[in-house]
């Protein structure tokens, strides 16, 4: 899974953004390099930085050019790129989050039935289609794969607090599913979705183009900050979080929703350190050790 590191591509995004593409194709290594570079920059926090946005295989920095000279900033980012290198020896603090999922739930099923005319396979559900084109014999086997390995939060965004997660398995075992032919105008809140090589969780109800596999009872965005997971901030996910999707049944789902309504629900989370090199050397063993914290 490790590849030789190519030089990053730098571009101005108008007068206030610099955009950096570390690799054209997605890989955990490209994402981890983005994390490593942006976390260094965040620690330094030079004057004039407005926001530092790591993404899947790229990142951007929003800066105030009245305070920070754009060309000096760009030269500094190039220094950080060299210092981080292939990121193999880098370890970053992370968390393992256990996200319960009711796969094939009634709400996303009702929604997907309303938008069959925008789908590649109008006669199948989204998860049946994804299972078939990825070579799984049935949906149960597909769910076992989706929930069997951990996922790396490679980017948080699109809308408030939405995590893009990348499957932590060798590429030949990764699930790949195209987005809808035309985006839907509706997606239930907390839908577990899939597009390209990314699984996501929709933080708010709204438009969407990702295939819909299920729903989590766990709130991931709480603008009122009323639940205990949101005391510090209104968004649950951080770039670099590691996610385990755990299948639950309808009774467990209803129980979790009751806890959310009572204001007591918490996502199970454990602090871990994630290092790229041992993961790439033996992903399955590394993942098994990572997930032991949830046992």
């Amino acid at each position: 899974m490790s590849t030789a590191v190519q030089d990053a591509r730098y571009s101005w995004g108008g007068d206030e953004f610099v955009f950096v593409e570390l690799a054209e194709e997605m890989s955990l290594q490209a994402n981890f390099r983005a994390m490593a570079i942006t976390s260094r920059l965040r620690d330094e926090r030079p004057d004039g930085i407005v926001d530092i946005c790591p993404a899947n295989a790229s990142y951007q920095v929003h800066y105030d050019p009245d305070v920070l000279d754009p060309r000096e900033l760009l030269a500094h980012l190039q220094d950080l790129e060299r210092a981080v290198g292939d990121a193999l020896d880098v370890s970053l603090p992370s968390r393992v989050l256990d996200i319960p999922v009711l796969y094939r739930d009634p709400w996303t099923t009702e929604t997907l039935m309303r938008f069959r005319d925008r789908h590649q396979d109008p006669d199948a559900t989204d998860i049946e289609y994804a299972a078939r084109i990825n070579g799984y014999t049935d949906v149960d086997e597909f769910i076992a794969a989706h929930s069997g390995s951990p996922w790396f939060t490679s980017m948080v965004g699109f809308v408030a607090g939405l995590p893009f997660t990348f499957q932590m398995v060798p590429r030949d075992r990764q699930i790949v599913v195209p987005k809808y032919l035309r985006p839907r105008t509706d997606t239930p809140k907390q839908t577990v979705g899939y597009g390209g090589c990314f699984s996501c969780i929709y933080s708010v109800r709204g438009a969407g183009g990702y295939q819909m596999f299920g729903i989590t009872p766990a709130p991931i965005y709480d603008p009122t900050q009323s639940l205990p997971d949101f005391t510090d901030f209104l968004v649950l996910f951080r770039p670099g979080d590691i996610v385990k999707f755990t299948p639950i049944d309808r009774d467990q789902y209803d129980d979790a929703v009751a806890q959310v309504e009572a204001g007591t629900f918490r996502v199970t989370a454990h602090d871990v350190d994630f290092a790229l090199e041992p993961f790439l050397a033996d992903p399955d063993s590394y993942n098994a050790r990572l997930l032991e914290v949830l046992a």
Partner: protein, 323 residues
């Protein structure tokens, strides 16, 4: 009785906006704030507020608002005749309203967004350092949404100086033919030379899909370079591995209908962006109504910084004129 505004009619989409909420874009929370920051600042300065105080952004069609206490107000931006109890009041000037007065608006005749500032500012809670509404996330402003009939919007209260006027040369001109300066880059290498030339040579027309998230234009199809899709990007030639979207970036899904992302932008996604609007020209985009004819004019980084310096100078003269 505390000072407030009772919303008798909400208008099409009237939201509380201020100077914005920078610093949370990495978690998908965009800066929000008035789309035309210059006009917002002018309205606030006219009533004695800080340039970035919380005011109302009014889109296409004005609200009808009842004041429960005297206030000094000002309307800037789009040409939309303010009226107090049916009587015309000037744009780009401060004027008083009395307790019980109803402020309404005439039809939009130029521009797209008017800014109503009230002395003392609108008193909604500060969320992450801003009172701006982020509608997609249901965050900030008045209950995280546009105003609705029957809402009671609290004011901080107080009055300012009446009869202050923004000089003509410091008012934002409104036009149906605009030029918007852009810095090319991001994924513009996905375009052929022909595609790039088409982007810069076309007079684009703004579609009705034009809101706080983005402005979509129609006019031509851009030719892309053939390629084998990189892993994770998707099959369409305009697809990229989902990347961060700069505010003002111009994405071109499918090579047709460019979208300028504005201050409530989605923070990232999988479509190639080919250019970014220079920050001060986002105000020009903000005042574009559907069917506005738009040319994207290329500048380099130094050109963008020069445009920024000009805007800063104009803002300084505005503060001097109203100080």
């Amino acid at each position: 009785m505390t000072a407030s505004i009772e919303v008798r009619k909400p208008g099409l989409s009237t939201t509380v906006q201020d100077g914005g909420r920078p610093g949370y874009y990495h978690l998908g929370i965009p800066p929000s704030g008035g789309l035309d920051q210059y006009s917002l600042a002018a309205a606030n300065l006219l009533v004695g507020n800080d340039a970035g105080a919380a005011a109302l952004e009014i889109v296409y069609m004005g609200p009808e608002l009842l004041f429960t206490a005297p206030a000094t107000v000002a309307v800037t931006g789009a040409t939309m005749q303010p009226r107090v109890n049916g009587e015309d009041r000037p744009l780009w000037e401060s004027f008083d309203v009395a307790e019980g007065d109803v402020l309404g608006f005439g039809y939009l005749t130029a521009g797209a967004r008017a800014y109503l500032a009230v002395s003392g500012g609108v008193d909604v809670p500060d969320v992450l350092g801003s009172r701006s509404t982020y509608g997609l996330g249901g965050l900030g402003g008045f209950s995280g949404r546009p105003l609705a009939e029957g809402d009671v919007l609290p004011l901080r209260g107080g009055t300012g100086r009446t009869g202050l006027v923004v000089p003509g040369d410091l008012r934002r001109p409104m036009s149906k033919d605009v030029e918007v300066r852009v810095v090319m880059g991001l994924y513009d290498h996905r375009l052929t030379d022909q595609g790039r030339a088409t982007f810069l040579d076309t007079t684009w027309t703004l579609t009705p899909v034009a809101d706080r998230i983005g402005f979509r234009y129609t006019g031509a199809e851009l030719e892309t370079v053939d390629r084998e899709p990189p892993f994770g990007a998707g099959q369409d030639p305009s697809n990229i591995v989902d990347a961060p979207y700069p505010i003002g970036s111009i994405q071109v899904p499918g090579g047709v209908e460019p979208i300028v992302l504005h201050r409530d932008a989605v923070s990232g996604g999988g479509y190639m962006m080919v250019a970014t609007v220079v920050s001060c020209d986002l105000d020009v985009v903000a005042q574009s109504a559907p069917r506005t004819r738009t040319r994207f004019v290329e500048v380099d980084l130094d050109g963008a910084l020069a445009a920024r310096a000009e805007q800063r100078d104009r803002a300084r003269r505005l503060r001097e004129a109203l100080g």
